[in-house]
């Protein structure tokens, strides 16, 4: 278990890796990757049972990035943990790379589920949780779901099943940045009260500031203590967090960075 200061430094480096990767790839999704830095740092370096030297460790907790387009956040975290080296980050989205545009479990050890087609990762996470329950294992499953991704019907099918099978080893983390490709969530497809929806489906729901390391540590501890039902952590985030000109800008969902944007972003992170 690492201190708040260490986790904060890790989050900063994760953000840095994301900008490096996307700056070199000249394609990919900056906004929804950057906003996960603190969540990834707290999950992988504090909350989860995980050994970066042995990503197939049978006792590990599982992480599924259901919003697969935030793959750079996952690769950056793997780099921070030593699972991949910095050089490899520059292969993102290139022919032959293990770092596919969306995570591919066949190519990169550590990726639990191949995701990218929205909604499916959460359903898969439920299946992993069910498999663990069946074997009476204690491992937990964490799934990061985008708020726009909640438009997908399969999310709610999976939510219903998770409650039905009492998957208290499953924790959904909703990356609630309020934006999706075509605009603000509620302008595209009104989400209503996300917490109330999960609660109605049988989840124990928590709300947290997705950039507050202490609050994240605390909320995951609370979620872990819940028995008999799955949990949902609604994490309020700022899309593009950490880069001033990207924050809360819908345009930075999947826009490639130009050289000048990359240099500016890098300067901000290093400043």
């Amino acid at each position: 278990m690492e201190t708040r200061e260490t986790l904060s430094k890790r989050a900063k480096r994760i953000r840095h890796h994301i900008i490096e990767m996307l700056g070199h790839a000249k394609s990919g999704h900056p906004g929804g990757s950057l906003d996960l830095a603190e969540i990834m740092s707290v999950l992988y370096f504090h909350e989860m049972k995980y050994d970066f030297n042995d990503p197939a460790w049978p006792e590990r907790d599982y992480f599924v990035l259901s919003k697969g387009h935030a793959a750079p956040a996952l690769y950056a975290t793997f780099c921070e943990g030593g699972l991949i080296d910095e050089e490899e980050l520059f292969t993102l989205r290139r022919l032959g790379s293990r770092l596919q545009g969306h995570p591919d479990r066949k190519k990169l050890p550590g990726v639990e589920a191949s995701t990218g087609s929205l909604g499916q990762g959460f359903s898969i996470a439920g299946g992993i949780a069910l498999s663990l329950k069946l074997r009476q294992k204690e491992n937990r499953v964490y799934a990061v779901v985008g708020d726009g991704e909640l438009d997908e019907g399969i999310i709610w099918e999976a939510a219903m099943a998770a409650a039905n099978y009492k998957l208290d080893n499953l924790c959904a983390i909703v990356d609630h940045n309020g934006l999706q490709i075509d605009g603000a969530n509620d302008d595209v497809m009104c989400l209503g009260d996300i917490g109330a929806k999960f609660e109605a489906f049988g989840f124990e729901v928590f709300h947290v500031d997705g950039h507050d390391i202490d609050a994240l540590i605390e909320v995951f501890a609370k979620a872990k203590a819940v028995t008999g039902r799955p949990t949902a952590v609604i994490a309020k985030t700022v899309k593009g967090k950490g880069i001033s000109f990207m924050e809360n800008q819908v345009g930075w969902h999947g826009t490639p960075m130009k050289e000048e944007d990359y240099l500016k972003a890098k300067a901000e992170l290093e400043g």
Binding site: Y62, D104, R105, K106, E112, A113, S114, G116, S117, G119, Q120, F122, S123, I124, A125, G126, G127, I128, A129, L130, S131, L132, L134, R135, G153, I154, E157, A158, M160, A161, N164, Y165
Partner: protein
């Protein structure tokens, strides 16, 4: 003649294997009494999960269970098991090559009275086109059981296409199923009839009729659609010089398409297709529908003569 529906044979085989193999987990979407996964559910209740009327999540859950180390069978009617879940099967099962077996019942038009909305005539095409997927269509109950044994014992995504109605038993227990191998049911030298599923029985009847008319027809049970038995296909094109394919599926993308593609590449010869001609099904009794849609022994005889005339 003894008859058993392939779905019955599936449920029985699954229950028998499930008792021996603790890794096997079965999912259904509120149709277990019809798909016969209920037999497994009774034998191994702790490893059966009803996912409710939510096929998409059944497919995603199957992927997750496979990641967790289970051998997963998921069942529903072919229309929903393949059609409803298609993109999840593609991206979450085949793309990562997970150990999920999709066993779909009520395939084809012999679903009968439920009508066109429930008659899947596209599922072979849809599954065959997916990389990493193996596709099998058993001709009877014995072959179904052998296929289930193979599927349970081997890794990777597989599709098993099963029917609703009783089918004559064609094989005895000595039959061995090998993927990528067809079975020659009857030899012949003038025309070769490649059939799958319940059309194998029709092809055998057609061969008898042709024999009475002095035409020697071979009948091949083409139950392994992917991998395809290219060697046998080419050998019979060589030997007979005329081929007929017969399937309870659209003529687009199914067995006929697979055989034709193989032959065009390796040994071109006239091929005629018996199948559903680019149209949807409708309500009716299975036998009425087979006649109305041109899926009978008589139609195979007609096409055999047409193929021979083109030699």
């Amino acid at each position: 003649m003894e008859k058993i529906a392939t779905r019955e044979a599936y449920g029985n085989a699954l229950a028998a294997i499930g008792k021996e193999n603790e890794k096997i987990v079965v999912l259904d979407a509120d149709l277990s009494k019809s798909t016969k996964t209920s037999v497994f559910a009774k034998a191994c209740p702790e490893r059966f999960f009803d996912m409710g009327i939510a096929e998409s999540n059944m497919a995603g859950t199957a992927a997750g269970l496979a990641i967790g180390g289970n051998t997963v069978f998921m069942s529903s009617f072919a229309m929903f098991a393949v059609g409803r879940c298609y993109e999840i099967i593609r991206n979450s099962i085949c793309y990562p090559k997970l150990n999920v077996k999709i066993a779909a019942t009520h395939a084809g038009i012999t679903v009968g009275e439920d009508g066109g909305s429930h008659q899947s005539i596209e599922d072979i095409a849809l599954t065959r086109v997916l990389p990493n997927m193996e596709v099998f269509v058993p001709a009877d109950g014995v072959e179904t059981a052998k296929m289930v044994q193979y599927m349970a014992a081997n890794e990777g995504p597989m599709y098993l296409r099963l029917g609703r109605s009783g089918q004559p038993v064609l094989f005895d227990e000595s039959y061995e199923f090998i993927p990528g191998k067809f079975t020659v049911m009857r030899d012949g030298g003038d025309v070769a009839l490649f059939a799958c599923g319940l059309m194998v029985g029709e092809a055998l009847k057609a061969a008898e009729t042709l024999h009475e008319e002095g035409i020697s027809a071979a009948v091949v049970n083409a139950s392994s659609l992917k991998p395809l038995d290219e060697a046998t296909t080419v050998a019979y094109a060589q030997k007979c010089g005329a081929i007929v394919t017969a399937e309870e599926h659209s003529v687009i993308g199914g067995l006929g398409a697979a055989i034709a593609q193989c032959l065009v590449r390796q040994r071109p010869c006239p091929v005629e297709f018996v199948g559903v001609e680019d149209r949807f099904g409708q309500s009716g009794r299975p036998d009425e529908l087979l006649a109305a849609y041109g899926l009978t022994a008589a139609h195979i005889v007609e096409k055999a003569k047409a193929a021979m005339a083109r030699k």
